[in-house]
Amino acid sequence: MAEFVDPLLFVEPLLILVLAINFVALGASRIRTVINAVAFQGVLLGVFPFLIHSEIGLRGVVLMAITMALKGYGIPWYLLRAMRTAEIQHEDKPVISYMASLLLGAVGTGLAMEFSSTLPLHEDHSHMLLVPASLATVWTGFLMLTTRHKAIMQVLGYLMLENGIFLFGLLLLEDLPLLVELGVLLDLFTGVFVMVIIIHHLNREFSSMSTEHLSALKE
């Protein structure tokens, strides 16, 4: 069957889906929604290597499986648990309104499209949405990191940032070097782990998850 249907055909629609998820994450105030969206995005991204690189060895398959399991199940489960222990459901007061976030997200996505057309890319990639989608996802991740107060939302922003970097990495790496991807995964996992611990402590100390309170610790 694979000879008849070029897998690359699926890439563009899936990338559009990734972009759509960005907007879902930006517009949602329910934390559970955002966790699910980011998890779904992570799983989606795991599919891309199979589509873009036709020859992918057993090692790649195992690696992708681990990535998808971790991003789609492990981390979301961990975050949901943190959410339950901290007893919060919503991001109450983002720094800017949800509407403004969405608007900024749209502007950023447009700029990413514009910017990537100026990049000196390999011609195989220049027509693809891959670069703009990765830049837009990074932008979204940063937006969430900087405009949300709840620590858990920042963890999610961080995850999204990593998703964007992962997308960009697909371009550069003909077949994924094991060490690089493992390194990124480990980094990600520790990052989330540490941040969840911080969330717990924040919650215990200040009865809130807002990172605003951390400024009380500055000298």
Binding site: V95, F115, F142, L145, T146, T147, R148, H149, Q154, T211, E212, L214, S215, A216, L217, K218
Partner: protein, 659 residues
């Protein structure tokens, strides 16, 4: 051989304070152990210098070293040997003095710390003096600078001590940064960090000037040349006295050593170098002593005299540099011999003065001159030591200060010009300045000795003072003997000086004139002996006369009053009032005076003090301004994670869009 010995001495001195760290803070064993080790280390170091003088040759030790650009390269030459003597001698005597002055039993909190760094300090200095690689030099330099910081802040429970420590630390770090730049430049010229004569092919005027400027700043701060002296007065005042002695006697000389070592590497120093150095020396000398006259704090006063004496040394160096630029060997020999001998002399008499001042402080527990008085009766030995140091520092015969200043005078008069030879008559103006320095120093020490040791006691403590323990007196007596030795037999040190001068200026050549042909050192010796004999005869006669007659005692300066009080004596500020007024344009004294108008005035008060204008009106305001400037950056330091992430993001976007 001598290099090995000096390295052994360095190691012993460096570890001398460690055994005490493992003993109880109340144990006196540690104090004895560390003093014994430090004395052994210093003695080994001194014997290495003796071996070098006897053998006259050096066998450099070169070992590879893991540090990039570094090489463990040590060697001895005349200059190194000359500077090693005060390093080991003053630290040895300081350790002995410390046995009585800073007893472990009386200072359980900081005694061990003091002894640890008192051992590391000479080790660092000796290392930098024999280093022939600039990285090794910097290692020694930093060991010295940091040990001195911990020594200055020995009593760190006191707020004033901590603040002074900060000023010292900032100053010494500025010097270090400047030295990094200097050695970087030398590396650019020579292509290695070896301290070797500079390759003339790579020396552009710009690089030469930059080397000069960084050398002056880096070493000038350490030496305390005005206007780089800001750290010096308060650090010397606040440190324990035997630390002040080694700081004033030896540490600031490391700045002088640095200037000498670097200038010796420059093949043809421009004439401007000598001129600028001479002018800086003159300014330091005159203003140093003028500030000293205005001080009320005994040790602060002595500290300003260090600036004055550094000025005299720098004047000699300036003269020698001029001599090298203009090819006048006799200026080089006289100027450099005078400067180097004054390095020794100042180490001896200033250490003696600080140790005597420490003896006073040990007895009376104050540095305030106006709270002392009449101590000569209660502490005769300390008074005797102090008066010897005072006569020496004023440059009066028959003591050592006279000899070195005399050499510089001779050299300065030589600049007036001889038919057919290049001259630099402007330099001769430094000679009257040197005379002015001498005169002011005499005035200042008359004031100090009069106020501290003569008259009647001005405070309860001063009237119950007691003589210091033998260990302190012994250390001071050795210095007294050294002062007399150089003063009475200056020809004995001439070979050592000649060796050091030729190490500094190898271009002097074989046909150079000897120091003894240029300066009448043997006549100085004869005249000094005559003077001593005259003094001895006169005092003997006086003593005989007094013994056979009735002596009536009464309060000094009673002036016939029936009920004189101690407050009727000259104070340190009233004695110096005229001189402070004359130098008011530079000293800017702060005087609080109420004008008395009524016939029967209300009780009022008067006080005056002379702060350091460079520190108070230049350095501190600059620092305050920069602190205010940097406070604007606190706007960015919100303590909010979101804001910090935004900075990263903005930086990333800027980098993406850049180009």
């Amino acid at each position: 051989m001598s290099e090995r010995l000096v390295l052994i001495g360095i190691v012993i001195a460096a570890v001398s304070g460690f055994p005490g760290l493992f003993l109880s803070r109340h144990s006196t064993l540690g104090q004895w152990l560390s003093t014994a080790l430090a004395v052994i280390g210093s003695a080994v170091g001194l014997s290495s210098v003796g071996v070098f003088w006897a053998a006259g040759d050096s066998q450099p030790i070169v070992r590879p070293w893991a540090i990039p650009g570094g090489e463990f390269h040590v060697a001895m030459d005349g200059l190194s040997a000359l500077f090693l003597v005060p390093i080991f001698l003053v630290s040895l005597l300081g350790c002995v003095y410390g046995l009585g002055y800073w007893k472990q039993a009386e200072h359980p909190d900081n005694g061990r710390k003091l002894r640890l760094f008192y051992g590391l300090l000479p080790a660092g200095m000796a290392l930098l003096v024999i280093a022939r690689n600039s990285i090794l030099f910097m290692v020694g330099w930093e060991v010295m600078a940091l040990s001195a910081f911990f020594l200055v802040t020995t009593e760190d429970h006191d707020r004033a001590v901590r603040e002074t420590g900060w000023i010292y630390l900032v100053a010494t770090k500025v010097a270090t940064v400047s030295l990094f730049a200097l050695f970087g430049l030398l590396h650019a010229v020579n292509g290695s960090f070896k301290l070797e004569p500079l390759n003339e092919a790579n020396l552009t005027p710009g690089i030469t000037t930059a080397i000069f400027v960084f050398m002056l700043i880096g070493f000038g701060i350490k030496a305390g040349i005005m206007p780089f002296h800001v750290w010096l007065p308060s650090s010397h005042a606040i440190a324990p006295s035997h630390v002040s002695a080694i700081m004033s006697g030896v540490i600031i000389k490391m700045g002088i050593y640095g200037i000498l070592r670097i200038t010796s590497l420059v093949p043809h120093p421009p004439v401007a170098w000598g001129g600028i150095v001479l002018v800086l020396g003159t300014i330091s000398g005159v203003l140093g002593v003028a500030f000293a006259v205005g001080q009320h704090d005994l040790k602060r006063l002595l500290a300003y005299h260090s600036i004055e004496n550094i000025g005299i040394i720098v004047m000699g160096i300036g003269l020698a540099l001029l001599g090298r630029s203009l090819g006048r060997d006799e200026w080089v020999i006289l100027g450099m011999s005078g400067a180097l001998l004054h390095v020794w002399n100042h180490a001896l008499f200033k250490a003696l003065l600080f140790l005597s001042a420490g003896s006073v402080i040990h007895a009376v527990h104050t540095r305030e001159i106006d709270h002392l008085g009449g101590l000569a009766k209660r502490m005769p030995l300390t008074a005797l030591c102090f008066v010897v140091g005072a006569v020496a520092i004023c440059g009066l015969p028959p003591l050592n200060g006279f000899v070195s200043e005399f050499l510089i005078y001779l050299g300065l008069f030589g600049t007036l010009g001889v038919e057919g030879k290049s001259s630099f008559a402007e330099a001769a103006f430094a000679a009257p300045a040197l005379a002015l320095i001498g005169a002011l120093a005499v005035a200042c020490f008359v004031k100090v000795f009069g106020a501290v040791f003569l008259g009647t006691a001005r405070s309860e403590h001063a009237s119950h003072a007691h003589e210091s323990p033998p260990s302190m007196i012994a250390a001071m007596s050795v210095l007294v003997a050294c002062c007399f030795f150089i003063g009475l037999a200056p020809f004995a040190v001439a070979p050592v000086l000649e060796q050091a001068v030729s190490a500094w200026a190898p271009s002097l050549g074989e046909s150079r004139q000897g120091l003894l042909t240029l300066a009448p050192l043997d006549s100085i010796s004869v005249m000094a002996l005559v003077l001593v004999a005259g003094l001895a005869v006169t005092s003997g006669l006086l003593w005989l006369r007094l013994r056979n007659s009735v002596v009536e005692t009464g309060p000094t300066w009673g002036c016939g009053f029936t009920a004189p009080t101690a407050r009727m004596q000259y104070t340190s500020s009233s004695f110096a009032e005229m001189l402070v007024g004359l130098f008011g344009w530079a000293l800017r004294p702060r005087i609080h005076r109420v004008k008395v108008t009524a016939l029967l005035p209300q009780p009022t008060d008067f006080h005056s003090h002379v702060p350091d204008p460079v520190l108070d009106e230049l350095v501190l305001p600059t620092f305050r301004f920069s602190a205010w400037l940097f406070s604007w950056f606190r706007v960015f330091q919100q303590g909010r994670i979101q804001a910090y992430l935004l900075y990263i993001f903005v930086a990333l976007v800027a980098l993406l869009l850049w180009r």
